[in-house]
């Protein structure tokens, strides 16, 4: 087991390294992209361009620039933005992270509850009316663009029905949890629901399929033969087994969302999280911030991947040998 964990951690570090190289190459070595021209502005003279190149170290060979960037990002932690000169990248990400965490944790609670409840109910009453209704709702939830759903929610709660039903909905924005849990939750309620819809749909569908498969297994027949109630079989036997795939799915989704995949929800609801930061830095082609955000995102995804793999190996000894 220990050697398996060690191998997984080593692989994770290698993947992170590869991602950092890939991102670096996408932004610094794509033919035709000149970061110096971006920094200096459109009307820069060749002299100014050369000066900018020198000041930002863009005239050095690629491997050295890569090493310098990584040194500033991880060791000195003083990497600064190209666009808003003086803004340090690492503190910017650290300030944005709590917003994203608040958004993702709340949404995760909602989608886990809704997804598991939907999957269990659909499996319990499979073939009856409620089953296709839940599954159709699930398909609809995975077919709705999240940003569009957010816009429609904004339209309804902030404009059309704001004077009547939704007068309690505050203006879009983020309130830190330190200013009171109530206001924090109130401001995040609709972003949570919007983000959770897609994942609740996915989880309900996956869980239903897993449960129906599990209900055909021998151990379920044994449980039935023992005379257990259908409800007990479903919850205590089938669900326990089926939750393994939900747990691994959850690890990956949670990791990528914390890493910035909730970008569209953040943009639509005006939440200053990591996704929003990534988005603005991409629009300005602010390379150090992009590098920082992508490395931060990749870190969470790779971490989640590794945890899921290790958890699998812990649950299923056969995986360890593979």
């Amino acid at each position: 087991m220990l050697s398996f964990v060690a191998r997984r951690v080593l692989a994770a570090v290698l993947v992170l390294f590869a991602i950092s190289v890939l991102v670096f190459l996408i932004f610094f070595a794509t033919p035709g992209v000149d970061p110096a021209a971006r920094i200096a502005g459109r009307s820069a003279t060749p002299q100014i361009l050369a000066q900018v190149r020198h000041e930002f170290g863009l005239d050095r060979p690629l491997p050295i620039r890569y090493a310098l960037l990584m040194e500033h990002l991880f060791i000195k932690r003083d990497l600064t933005s190209y666009v808003n000169i003086g803004d340090k990248v690492v503190p910017q990400i650290m300030n944005a992270a709590p917003v994203t965490l608040s958004l993702v944790i709340g949404a995760a609670v909602i989608w886990l509850v809704a997804g598991i409840a939907g999957g269990v109910v659909a499996a319990r009453f499979r073939g009856r009316l409620i089953d296709p209704i839940i599954m159709l709702a699930g398909i609809s939830a995975i077919s709705v663009p999240a940003y569009w759903l957010g816009e429609v929610v904004n339209l309804i709660t902030e404009s059309r029905l704001h004077s009547s039903v939704f007068s309690w909905v505050p203006a879009a924005g983020y309130v830190p949890i330190s200013q009171g849990v109530g206001q924090w939750a109130l401001h995040l309620l609709f972003p949570w629901l919007t983000l959770a819809a897609l994942y609740a749909g996915i989880y309900a569908r996956v869980l239903r399929a897993e449960l129906v498969t599990a209900l055909g297994e021998d151990y379920v027949r044994t449980a039935r033969a023992k005379g257990l109630s259908e409800r007990r079989i479903l919850i205590r036997h089938a669900l326990r087994c089926s939750l393994i795939s939900i747990v691994s799915l959850f690890g990956l989704d949670f990791g990528s969302l914390v890493g910035g995949a909730a970008l569209l929800t953040e943009v639509v609801f005006g939440l200053p999280g990591v996704g929003q930061l990534t988005y603005t830095s991409l629009q300005d082609l602010d390379l150090p911030v992009i590098m920082g955000c992508v490395m931060y995102a990749a870190f969470f995804v790779v971490l989640a991947n590794t945890i899921v793999d290790v958890a699998y190996a812990w649950l299923d000894p056969r995986v360890r040998r593979a």
Binding site: V15, I139, S140, V144, L149, R160
Partner: protein, 309 residues
């Protein structure tokens, strides 16, 4: 079957976009039309109306007239017919969704089959590549590639793809989803390789190429076919998200995502501009997903017990 019918209807209606714009509505949905007029209840009305409320600044485009001949869904802030743009945008969205899904499935089949069949160093390299792309949050990778490529276009040797070309979003979206399809295929091929009929083919001296083409591919194809409609839906949703962030389809082309983006500034005054393309995306994606479930049930009857609709 209902899903297929809806899908065909959406495709046919979108393909008829030039007919609608030319013969029914008599509009050109691409250039801005700030001074244009249309007919509402028999009266000539400007497409963009000055605001008389408040400070009287700015203009508001005409809202839905629900008259199929004259600005059925109203105009956007350039005075362009939203319904005609919706149809043209649908062509782009469907084109990008289907071609990038096709490209993705072909690439994934090629790489997945090679990784699973040859194993060894080829498998190691390909699997690590999948790992890396997989570990990259999909939207971040697509956005990074789009931002870089849309400023300068893509130049590989003699091939040059212009910055505004639809090929760029197609290629970007196809590439980012390759691991989603290739990984399960690789697993499938790994298990196929151990089966007797492959051993028999190796035993009679068939070449690798022949085994891949005649033995492995026919057995892996159903999985690719099951993936295809789901990938079209996923690719279309990704395209719309990129276009919404204005790094997907570039003007003058329109897609459902760019129209939602156009409608953003009008959300509280003329919500139909943003709502209509979103609804089209939802309808199309739901029917594609239902179709995917149907195809899966047809190819794998055992799955029918598990699926419900």
């Amino acid at each position: 079957m209902g899903a297929l019918a809806v899908l065909v209807l959406v495709i046919v209606v979108c393909l008829l976009a030039p007919v609608y714009a030319g013969s029914v509505a008599h509009v050109d949905p691409f250039p801005s039309n700030l001074q244009g007029t249309t007919i509402v209840h028999g009266r000539v009305t400007p497409v963009l109306q000055s605001n008389h409320q408040g400070l009287g600044l700015g203009v508001t485009p005409i809202g839905p007239t629900w008259d199929i001949h004259h600005y059925f869904l109203g105009a956007d802030n350039q005075g362009r017919d939203v319904f005609a743009r919706l149809l043209y945008g649908g062509r782009t969205s469907l084109l990008i969704g289907s071609t990038s899904a096709l490209l993705c499935c072909v690439l994934a089949a090629l790489l997945g089959l090679m990784a699973g069949y040859f194993g060894g160093p080829i498998d190691w390299v390909l699997s690590r590549l999948f790992d890396i792309v997989w570990a990259f949050p999909i939207y971040l990778l697509a956005i990074s590639l789009s931002v870089v490529l849309l400023t300068s276009g893509l130049q590989i040797g003699f091939i040059h793809i212009g910055a505004g070309s639809l090929l760029l979003p197609i290629i970007i979206i196809a590439i980012v989803y390759v691991p989603y399809v290739a990984r399960p295929l690789r697993g499938l091929v790994l298990s196929l390789r151990e089966r007797e009929f492959i051993q028999a083919a190796i035993g009679v001296g068939a070449s690798d190429w022949r085994i891949l083409r005649r033995e492995i591919l026919p057995n892996a194809l159903p999985s690719v076919i099951v993936f295809f409609p789901l990938m079209v839906a996923l690719d279309m949703l990704t395209e719309s998200a990129l276009s919404f962030l204005s790094i997907g389809v570039q003007p003058p082309s329109a897609s459902w995502g760019t129209i939602i983006n156009d409608g953003l500034g009008l959300l509280y005054t003329r919500p139909m501009v943003a709502i209509a393309p979103g609804l089209m995306i939802v309808i199309t994606a739901v029917s594609l997903n239902l179709l995917g479930d149907g195809v899966r049930d047809a190819l794998d009857p055992k799955a029918k017990l598990r699926g419900s609709i």
